[in-house]
Amino acid sequence: MTTYNDFVIRFANVNGSGSASANGMFAKALFRMGIPVSTRNIFPSNIQGLPTWFEVRVSDKGYLGRREGVDIMVAMNAETFEEDVAAVKPGGFLLFDNTKALALNLKRSDITEIGIPLTDLLLPVFTDIKQRGLFKNITYLGALAALLNIEFDVITGMVSTQYAGKDALIAPNIRALEIGREYARQYLPCPLPFQVRRMDANGDRIMVDGNAAAAIGALYGGATVCAWYPITPSTSVAESFEQYANKLRVDPDCGRRRFAVIQAEDELSAIGIVIGAGWNGARSFTATSGPGISLMSEFLGLAYFAEIPAVVMDIQRAGPSTGMPTRTQQADLLSAAYASHGDTRHVLLFPSTPKECFEFAAQAFDLADRLQTPVLLMSDLELGMNDNLSEPFAWDDTRAYDRGKVLDADDLDRIERFGRYLDVDGDGIGYRTYPGTHPTKGAFFTRGTSRDEYARYTESPEAYVQNMDRLLKKWKTAATLVPKAEIGGSGHRAGILFYGTSALPMQEALDLLTEEGIHLDTLRVRGFPFGAEVYQFIDAHDFVFVVDQNRDAQMKTLLVTEGGLDPATLISVLYFGGLSISADTIQAQVSEYFTEQKLPRLTEVKS
């Protein structure tokens, strides 16, 4: 029986061996054939020599989450060969370089071995040893084209695009592809029972990583200052921003830049620069990960109290600093939400797709200006560093930036007396001025607290309390401005609440649960502070599963703390192994709860 467009293929390579581009082309070829794919890099914190895996999930149903088990293993790393062989599902296939024979103890009777003598095949063709190594990857791609029925001209077309301008590379790449394809056709059981065939499931979707998307969002959102410190998995946000800005944010007349990027000496400096620029009226951001959030905490607290706009893109990873920096988690919720000493709360946005990374990144600057406070975009490695299928980005050219409540010189001339921290409109948000606005009016001295509504120094308890209460009022305003939660289904007694990349496997998990008679309404949180709809959803259900990709149920903690909820009504579904959460994990934990609690399941009677 042939399975079309529904399998998981994993490439096991050595870090730095040039496999990434071949593997990327494999995924892109399928995407261009209209087949939904999702990709995952599983890589070490290392430059060269350690094992790395690239996993492609092919799903005609459009499931984009990670799925347990590997159908086809392309095992190119001797060091991990044993575990790679063991990872193949029964009935699956093992593709390997059989220039050296497979050790007998590694043989499995329940999988099919597909040996290709890659080294031997390339030896007579490519004399350069380094080239031979690189083309090994291209050659197995050619073999896979024959084995899985990938349209060959889609791949060769991609080679031509990828090496446009470096034409000398095109011919040898295509030659390597052909060597693999010819060998497979002649000696291997082509095609395999796992195959691809063209479909039209991708529409106008794009395939992009969340970090590039967030960078483009920052560009469109009007960011002019970016200060950052390199840290996996966030580095590519700043690098992409600079790359796109160099192309699209240059004065056409003089060729000068309408942006400034500073690679700072550390995260403290990065956020300091962002806050200094925000104070002076420029849209500014930094990108970082958990350890950076820890280092930025003091400054984030100051920005909260001093009411300065700042945007932080937190691409979360597993903690701590020396932990698993190249593995994904949603582990910074609490440290980001309450970053710093004193009573502080920060606005968080939770994108689930590259399109949301783009949109929320742009929106973050509006929110930060409107609310005069830091806004943190909570992405993660899974979303940030992997190519994900996404709706295309769109921008309304009539859209104006919301710069919030800023008084210019004319405004200052009109008003009788300027008070930076006066709550004129009753929404907790005062009016601010940029430095240098007016010769005699509107200047003020920025401090954390210890000031009155006119920004004058005071340590009066009444002034402090009044200010803190106003900040709380502003927090309530924030709850009405952040993206609303997305709600699915209605009328079921149980719900499931999730956010960020837990959305990727969710549809699949729900389908699996439906098969066993478990029906859940869904709520995807997109912003913090939580809107009223979040609490209404929880209130309307007997109990709600809360999916967290961390050990300590950080989203649940936020819900319980902020909403004063009974913890017993929120059932945690947790995964924190450093890979992204899979549908099977969600299904297993939800199902187990139903079994443990002897809850009724609704199974449709099939007639």
């Binding site: 995407f31 794009i206 395939m207 483009i216 469109y220 009007g222 002019t224 200052v225 200060a227 699209l248 944010r249 004065d251 003089c254 000068r256 830049r257 309408r258 942006f259 400034a260 500073i262 700072a264 000496e265 403290l268 400096s269 300091g272 620069i273 962002v274 806050i275 200094g276 620029a277 104070w279 002076n280 009226g281 420029a282 500014s284 400054f299 100051l302 001093a306 295309p392 980005f393 921008w395 309304d396 050219d397 104006a400 930036y401 940029y434 430095p435 240098g436 007016h438 010769p439 005699t440 200047a443 003020f444 001295f445 401090r447 954390g448 004058r456 120094y457 005071t458 340590e459 009066s460």
Partner: protein
């Protein structure tokens, strides 16, 4: 202490500068620092410099970290915005402020604890980046607000008010700034207005990173047992005050000496600071020589003051980054947003 406004009455004979303003237009509210604090002399020198240069008093960004020195930006140029930020992090905030609007005069005020200890890293890197600003360190060798701990610029062997000696080598910020590439480096003494005001004026007008290390005596904590200015002495001789909130008023320490000469200054703790004013023919364009000279004099127990180095053709960070002339904070959608058509092309590149 709460905000104290100064009376807005001008002395009729106050001189008027080129833009029709008097020195009072550059002042701030009354300082809350101890009477006689050297830092107030620095603030006064900043006021004098800005007034004499006829700079618009609202076109400044005043940034500071934390500490006595960092309180001072609220005591001068009250028509400009100021930002009392995070301990040791003034340089990064100033960097951001300067990136956002290159047209403002940026003055950063820091202390020796703020710059030489907690903020040493940020200090080093702002020097490297050549942010166009005037960076002043009010250097008193002690932590005033936390009551008298040694700072990293305190000389080895000098004693604290408790009598214990400083065991560690001092950091010389001037030497550091010279070594890392500051394009304007000077040192002065808070009480030497004749020298300090011109230095501040030169620093403000310098394009690029200007650094002035100002020795600024702490009247409250650079004292020790046996001194008539010490806590113990005051407590023993006065019954009406508490130990924690009383400082012996001290006269402002001033000096006036000629270039090329040395001057001994009595410090509040009874010690003597030997200043050496650079000769008029000192070559201010030779960085290596300046570094050698500072170190040599230091070995002889002298603190060199004056302009040590200037590179009048230096570039600043905006030039390095090749940013547009117009302040980034003035750019709107038309200049910033590439628009939907460009986005279509971006989308296509991901297919």
């Amino acid at each position: 202490m709460t905000f104290v406004a100064k009376p807005r009455v001008h002395h009729p004979k106050l001189p008027i500068n080129e833009i029709g303003l008097t020195r009072r237009d550059y002042e701030g509210p009354v300082s809350t620092l101890c009477a006689g604090c050297g830092h107030d002399s620095v603030s006064a020198a900043i006021v004098a410099a800005c007034a004499e240069l006829s700079l618009p008093p609202h076109k400044f960004a005043k940034i500071s970290g934390i500490g006595c020195s960092s309180k001072t930006p609220s005591y001068f140029l009250s028509k400009s915005h100021g930002f009392n930020s995070v301990h040791g992090r003034m340089p990064s905030v100033a960097t951001g402020a300067n990136l956002a609007n290159r047209e403002l005069y940026c003055i950063g005020v820091s202390g020796d604890g703020d710059t030489a200890s907690i903020g040493l890293g940020q200090f080093a890197h702002i020097v490297r980046r050549r942010i166009n600003m005037l960076y002043i360190v009010d250097n008193n060798g002690t932590y005033g607000l936390t009551k008298g701990q040694f700072s990293a610029t305190n000389d080895k062997g000098s004693t604290s008010k408790k009598g214990s000696p400083n065991l560690y080598e001092p950091i010389d910020l001037v030497s550091m700034a010279l070594q890392i590439g500051a394009s304007f480096v000077a040192r002065s003494f808070s009480g030497d207005k004749k020298q300090l005001v011109p230095l501040i004026k030169a620093g403000l007008m310098h394009k690029g990173f200007a650094f002035i290390d100002v020795i600024s005596p702490c009247v409250a904590f650079n004292n020790h047992q046996g001194s008539t200015k010490s806590y113990e002495y005051v407590r023993d001789h006065s019954e009406t005050v508490t130990v924690s909130d009383y400082f012996q008023p001290h006269d402002e320490i001033t000096v006036d000496y000629d270039p090329g000469s040395s001057e001994d200054v009595k410090m509040p703790d009874g010690s003597t600071l030997r200043l050496h004013k650079l000769d008029r023919d000192f070559d201010v364009h030779d960085r290596v020589n300046a570094l050698n000279y500072v170190q040599k004099r230091q070995a002889e127990g002298e603190v060199v003051t004056g302009l040590l180095y200037v590179d009048p053709d230096a570039s600043d960070c905006h030039e390095i980054l090749d940013t547009v002339q117009r302040p980034l904070n003035e750019l709107g959608e038309a200049e910033l947003c590439p628009g939907n058509a460009a986005l279509h092309a971006i989308n296509d590149s991901f297919r």
